[in-house]
Symmetry: D2
Amino acid sequence: MVSERAISAIDLNSDVGESFGAWTIGDDESILRIVTSANVACGFHGGDPSTLRLACSAAAAHGVRIGAQVGYPDLLGFGRRFLDMSESELRDAVLYQLGALDAFAQVAGSEVAYLKPHGALYHATIDNAVQARAVVAAASEYDPSLAVLGAPGSELLAAARRADLEAVPEAFIDRAYRGDGRLVPRSEPGSVITDPAAVAARAVRLAVDRTVEAADGAVVEVHARSLCVHGDSPGAVALAGAARAALDAAGVAVHPFTG
Amino acid sequence: MVSERAISAIDLNSDVGESFGAWTIGDDESILRIVTSANVACGFHGGDPSTLRLACSAAAAHGVRIGAQVGYPDLLGFGRRFLDMSESELRDAVLYQLGALDAFAQVAGSEVAYLKPHGALYHATIDNAVQARAVVAAASEYDPSLAVLGAPGSELLAAARRADLEAVPEAFIDRAYRGDGRLVPRSEPGSVITDPAAVAARAVRLAVDRTVEAADGAVVEVHARSLCVHGDSPGAVALAGAARAALDAAGVAVHPFTG
Amino acid sequence: MVSERAISAIDLNSDVGESFGAWTIGDDESILRIVTSANVACGFHGGDPSTLRLACSAAAAHGVRIGAQVGYPDLLGFGRRFLDMSESELRDAVLYQLGALDAFAQVAGSEVAYLKPHGALYHATIDNAVQARAVVAAASEYDPSLAVLGAPGSELLAAARRADLEAVPEAFIDRAYRGDGRLVPRSEPGSVITDPAAVAARAVRLAVDRTVEAADGAVVEVHARSLCVHGDSPGAVALAGAARAALDAAGVAVHPFTG
Amino acid sequence: MVSERAISAIDLNSDVGESFGAWTIGDDESILRIVTSANVACGFHGGDPSTLRLACSAAAAHGVRIGAQVGYPDLLGFGRRFLDMSESELRDAVLYQLGALDAFAQVAGSEVAYLKPHGALYHATIDNAVQARAVVAAASEYDPSLAVLGAPGSELLAAARRADLEAVPEAFIDRAYRGDGRLVPRSEPGSVITDPAAVAARAVRLAVDRTVEAADGAVVEVHARSLCVHGDSPGAVALAGAARAALDAAGVAVHPFTG
């Protein structure tokens, strides 16, 4: 199995750039030393121009690829509340965010390489075909070489494939899965895994075997090309670091799914 | 004088894309049939994503060049109130707006070709060297081929020249001038000229002779490469149309200062 | 039936105070000469502090009662897009708007006498019991003497009654009804009635007979204590004026449902 | 001097309620156990409806008086950047904030008892008579019994006195003073005092002797009725606690200046 492991490869992605003005969220500097892809907020649910510059500069300095973490225009709700935008409104809101972030990515010597919806938009585009189409339409018209990062089996990834964009499924290393491959809702007990050893082991298994053990004990196939880690608390950064170390130790090549 | 007039050339610029959500300002469709350069709002003082798309599409369809009308982040004040932003805050705010608008310009088959500050930022950068530098820094790092449109003698144009950006002075066809070449403040009587024939005559004189008759009767040289017209009321559109017709009749070539 | 008509009474309500900064919507001055209750926007979907002052002053000057037209915090969408706020978030957002508007109402020598949700919040609280409860909770804790204006049969009015608030059903004089008493959706042909004579006749019938003829010809009972008229266009103001004149001519007492 | 000390009294005030949505600033719970007056943000520079509710509830529970910490409408700049609002715009913006906060104060069983400008508005109203008048006008028309808390010698307090509002001067226990009684700007070394013992000693001296030792060694009279302490970091809370303990030990009565 050594040879198989040797060819395993995975990306680690995390949200950054979500601070706003005087308010700070996340430890971007620390998490950017761990991950290979940075989902940078674009100013609609979080992030302001100077925060975007810092995040893009730091990502570029650490060789981390930049993705546009696009969200609903809902600063107060941090993009975590469904907003019933029409297809054209959402497409235009996403395009605006893509262009704004790309300016900072380019000035930092990098580029926006992919897109990932944030919060309630992420969840909406799992099943909501109209909003999924809107997000993909903006990506497609802005740059057909953009990849789209999202949930396996989502309308978002289906729409991306139909638009000939690269569709990249991801998995969550600190979330419990159901037998059907969906996440256990946060409202249920045991939905979030906090033991570093358990999280690290799941990360390796997802990268190497492409499986995860569901809450009911079933072995579920999850064909993820990227693993999402969190960086919004010291504990989250430590968890991400443990996962990275375990992947490295297991011989998994951790590198961006883009570029 | 026919030969001299024959080689006269001027640009007409106007603000567009300043509607926001359910609120409309300006008659973009009409004004884009008259001008050659469109200062498109970027969402900070006015303009929303769908408005930016419409404005860029219409500008591109009419062969009108697109400029970024960047402003303070003050929707409530429509960018008309001085905001004491630091140099880096302002630079980043301008860069954000440039990137956002450029996404729509590119999708429309065009590009952001120049930058013009809006409202209080326009006035601040006449004398405020720090804010002028900030605006120019964003333009310069985003695209060194951007032109900067502003007031003759302003810190903004001086900073643009120092940064090797094309600095383009403009004149106002419906505003009274003082003997020193500055505008008569709006608060003073006679500061705004509303007679179409007078406005049209001033436009031709500014384009051909590069002069304007000041409020005190003095003849003032104004070396403008673009004339600013307004389009936010039916009367303004008619005034702009009269100026355009007079310029055409005088044999002045009306075309963009960019591209 | 003359005697019965003589004792008929109805309120006319309209949205005002929805302008924002440099952007104007509606002809508040004209509509406040026609209606008896003013739904004043509170700054979340439209309205800014100076607009609220003007609207409250004008309402007070015309003897028009002031209601809080509370909405989602979605300026860009003008409150017309459903936002999935939690019960406590929405309750607090409504309370904030109530207090803010009441400051202007009081300074104008009046008071906030009732509450009416705006746009998508109006529609959500017809069926969404959680959001209906949230709106009512804010009204109830702020001032138990507030009335709540809304759609007949809505969760909103049911929640208001449960909270011992006065629940006031309204009808729309320029909208087609279905046989079940609900409005024909705007997306369907014939949903909006634009003939002044027809609108005026419907207003009188709603006030006197408490019925409306549905799109399918059925006679539907609508027990409305207030009729909603629009004022966001010259045509709308004319329509409202025609309805008011017809009501006066029919001997219907047009006066506020509060105070 | 024991008897004099025995009758000394002072208020401690601090900023609270400045968190916004997902972003947290300050440790409101801890600081509200120390101070006697809470400057609660009103949503323009910080604070959102649910944060205002929490802050008002906690203040009321601890017997802390509630003041409106009004600011410029500049969330991104946290109200720390001068905004050139007109007198009427600013008056209306302050009135809006007063009413919004008062709703939460009342629901918590308390009331808005005073007003204190935040950040750049605080600094502007030291010398800017127009903006000082605007702030005071709103307070005066909303509730003539409101006190105004501000810098000794400021235009703000002068305007408050002219409007027959109670004008309450405050001092800063952790800031260095110049010989003329003004603060040493933050940009200069030594402007902020971080030694708990020194801060505590200054607090007692300000409360008892009404003096402070300036940076140049001069003894400066500061007739403050309230001392401002910070609570936006664990160190700041500890400093405030040390000052409170020293005041209590010195026999200074620490109680609100209002009510």
